[in-house]
């Protein structure tokens, strides 16, 4: 594929990730996530990794999306959510002072800095995969550090994971793609299982919480 289209695809992917992480409405954010996963799938396809494209579409878009919606209470057989989630909005995050923001972002920036230094050691010119991957990681880390809602953190985790997969395949595309495939496939499965566990947790906590005190949003506390 011509490099311009590659770059365009990467940009779309990053934009969708940004929308996922920044949207105030949870349901819409999950929708953006499914779109993002499909864009990633297309990216894999354009790079020639058929298996990864398929798995990303199945595991990333379909199953992960399903779990995310299940956690929000949308879908066949899911009970109507009570409490905060009924409003589909996630309330305002903690007032973010500069100090708190810096403290949280510092590890993220450190990781990013180290990664950039390491990647600089690789000779090839960074292509859209690598740059896209780095962009995803940056946004994902930022969102993970600053958000407290479990669902948002799960979304951030998925985005970071995808970023890492992209970087990995960019690095090993020529030398040992088989190993890279193995790692990415395992990673996709792990991400799916992690999101599934998280989704179950969200449902259970909110169920327990709604039956006791509808005023508190349990998904907020404890994720500090």
């Amino acid at each position: 594929m011509p490099p311009l289209l590659d770059a365009l695809l990467a940009l779309i992917m990053v934009a969708l990730a940004a929308l996922t992480l920044l949207d105030r409405q949870l349901v819409r954010a999950c929708v953006w996530f499914v779109a993002f996963a499909l864009a990633v799938s297309l990216t894999w396809l354009s790079e020639g990794f058929l298996w990864l494209a398929m798995l990303e579409a199945v595991l990333g878009a379909t199953f992960t999306g399903a779990f995310l919606f299940y956690s929000l209470g949308i879908g066949p057989g899911a009970a109507k959510p009570r409490g905060r989630l009924a409003r589909w909005h996630d309330p305002l995050p903690l007032p973010l002072t500069w100090r708190r923001a810096v403290l949280r972002l510092l590890p993220a920036l450190a990781v990013l800095g180290m990664l950039a230094l390491a990647l600089a050691g690789f000779i090839e010119v960074p292509g859209p995969l690598r740059l896209g991957g780095m962009g995803l990681i940056f946004m994902g880390l930022w969102a993970f550090a600053l958000h407290r809602h479990l669902l948002r953190r799960l979304l951030a985790f998925n985005v970071i994971g995808t970023g890492i997969f992209l970087i990995m395949m960019a690095l090993v595309r020529n030398s040992s793609p088989a190993a890279g495939h193995g790692l990415v496939i395992t990673g996709l499965l792990v991400a799916l299982l992690g999101t599934a566990l998280g989704a179950l947790l969200i449902r259970r906590i909110n169920g327990l919480d709604a039956s006791r005190e509808p005023a508190t949003d349990v998904a907020e506390r404890g994720s500090g």
Binding site: I164, A179, I205
Partner: protein
């Protein structure tokens, strides 16, 4: 050191050589599934069936000891997995089997008398089986992909086990654990990606030869260590451990503190020895983290009011001893590294047995008195002597008093530290002993109180008592016969 890890053994050539290893890995899964369907109510059928995985491990041990170490290659298309088994692997496999089987045998009686019908009990068995298999994979793996699979499975299973009680505290603590585990996995994966990108191979033996100093290596090791040490609850990344134990089921706590955190530690140590065996400044930093863990964990255990918190913080503290092993083995003289090698693994085994026994005994005490606070133990020395005895024997090993295995391990670590001239670790080990004695004897002090009028104690089922006592006695007796596991350690593929 690579030889000690068994990474230099040439792989086997016969096609059926893999059979025993696969048997060892798959048997727990099968048994877990069976137990999920059948839901055992008593411990003895489990104890009987437990002979199956033990038997398969016995066969593997004989094969490995006969040949002095074995390695296997598993080809999946163009992908090759490397596995190996030497003395160290066998030691860890045996330890894992013994502790897991004790925990599994403890569970039926525990579920029957304490939990009743709450929580998701049917998932306990398959999750425990999966945990055993994933830990075995971690010990056996000699390439990064297998390690990654094992690590992730172990992490997710551990989170799942912690969520079983189904109560709000358990879920909230479990949520935090899940998030941190996932973050750790990401860091690990990124590190692996860098290594793979730079040197195009995943097998540890090959990486040991191919890895060169440079930015890529440092960043990769930093990322790997960050992820692994987070999962191993190393100070200052330890905050998730104590809350998680507070609400977990007793056999799950025992299994987790004894083995799960050790798995991440093992991978971290192995990777450092493979990739950066001469990085003594960085290793010193990790050692300092260990020192911090010993002191901080000890202080918080001393101040804790709930019994399970004392044991959980004690775990954080004891993991510090293992982290000292980093700085004693990496970048030091060969004779120091040799003594530290033996000391670290002996400390790992001793701590696993003692901590598992201590958690089981604590569970017994809490069940019997109905109270989870340390003060609730008043008068326990006459009412529940057996549980208190198990607790006491396990704590001897934890504090590091003779003749327990903890003492022998501490002796070896002291020897290594003295020989290397690291006076600071001497002070850390000494301080750790004193703090350990402080928080343990604080618990005992309450149990000797005669003034209070305690309510009636519930009778603890025999199987629960005996399992706690058995694990505790194992940690005690291993002290004087420490030469046995150490001889096993010295059976390394490719020579010691």
């Amino acid at each position: 050191m690579i030889a000690r890890l068994g990474l230099l053994t040439p792989p086997a050539t016969q096609p059926d050589a893999l059979g025993t290893v696969l048997l060892v890995l798959v048997t727990p899964l099968v048994m877990g599934a069976l137990a999920a369907i059948w839901r055992p109510r008593r411990g003895w059928p489990i104890a009987a069936l437990a002979l199956l995985p033990l038997a398969s491990l016995m066969v593997l041990s004989q094969e490995v000891l006969a040949s002095g170490g074995q390695a296997w290659l598993i080809e999946l298309g163009t992908l090759t997995l490397h596995w190996r088994a030497n003395g160290l692997t066998l030691l860890l496999l045996w330890l894992t089997q013994v502790v897991t089987l004790a925990s599994v045998a403890y569970a039926p009686a525990y579920l029957r008398v304490e939990i009743g019908d709450q929580g998701e009990q049917r998932w306990l068995w398959p999750l425990q089986g999966l945990l055993l298999s994933s830990l075995s994979l971690i010990w056996l793996a000699a390439d990064l992909l297998s390690l990654y699979i094992g690590l992730e499975l172990m992490g997710l299973t551990a989170v799942g086990l912690m969520l079983l009680p189904g109560k709000v505290e358990a879920l909230v603590a479990g949520m935090r654990y899940l998030l941190l585990a996932l973050v750790g996995s990401l860091a690990f994966l990124l590190g692996v990606a860098l290594l793979l990108g730079a040197w195009a191979r995943l097998d540890l033996g090959g990486l040991a030869m191919a890895a060169e100093e440079g930015m890529v290596l440092w960043v990769a090791v930093a990322l790997l260590s960050a992820g692994l040490l987070l999962k191993a609850a190393a100070f200052p990344l330890h905050a998730w451990l104590a809350p998680v134990h507070g609400s977990a089921w007793t056999p799950v706590s025992a299994l987790h503190a004894a083995l799960v955190v050790k798995g991440s530690f093992f991978i971290a140590l192995q990777l450092w020895l493979v990739l950066v065996p001469a990085a003594h400044i960085a290793a010193w930093l990790v050692g300092a983290m260990g020192g911090g863990a010993v002191v901080w964990g000890g202080l918080l255990a001393w101040r804790a009011t709930k019994l399970k918190d004392v044991v959980a913080w004690s775990t954080v503290s004891q993991l510090g001893y293992l982290l000292l092993g980093f700085s004693l083995m990496i970048g030091t003289a060969p004779q120091v590294a040799e003594v530290a090698w033996e000391g670290t693994w002996l400390q790992l085994v001793a701590h696993s047995l003692a901590k598992a026994g201590m958690f089981l005994a604590t569970g017994n005490l809490i069940f019997s008195t109905g109270e989870s606070h340390v003060k609730g133990l008043a008068g326990a020395s006459c009412r529940m002597p057996l549980s208190l005895l198990s607790f006491g024997i396990a704590s001897i090993s934890l504090i590091g008093l003779p003749p327990s295995a903890g003492f022998t391990a501490k002796w070896l670590l002291l020897h290594a530290a003295l020989e290397a001239g690291y006076w600071l670790w001497l002070a850390v080990l000494a301080l750790g002993t004193l703090l350990g004695a402080a928080y343990i004897f604080r618990v005992f002090r309450y149990s000797f109180v005669e003034d209070a009028e305690p309510p009636e104690a519930r009778r603890v089922p025999w199987s629960m008592e005996l399992l706690a006592l058995g694990l505790a006695m194992a940690s005690l007796l291993l002290g004087l016969v420490a030469e046995w596991p150490l001889t096993l350690l010295r059976t390394a593929g490719g020579g010691a």
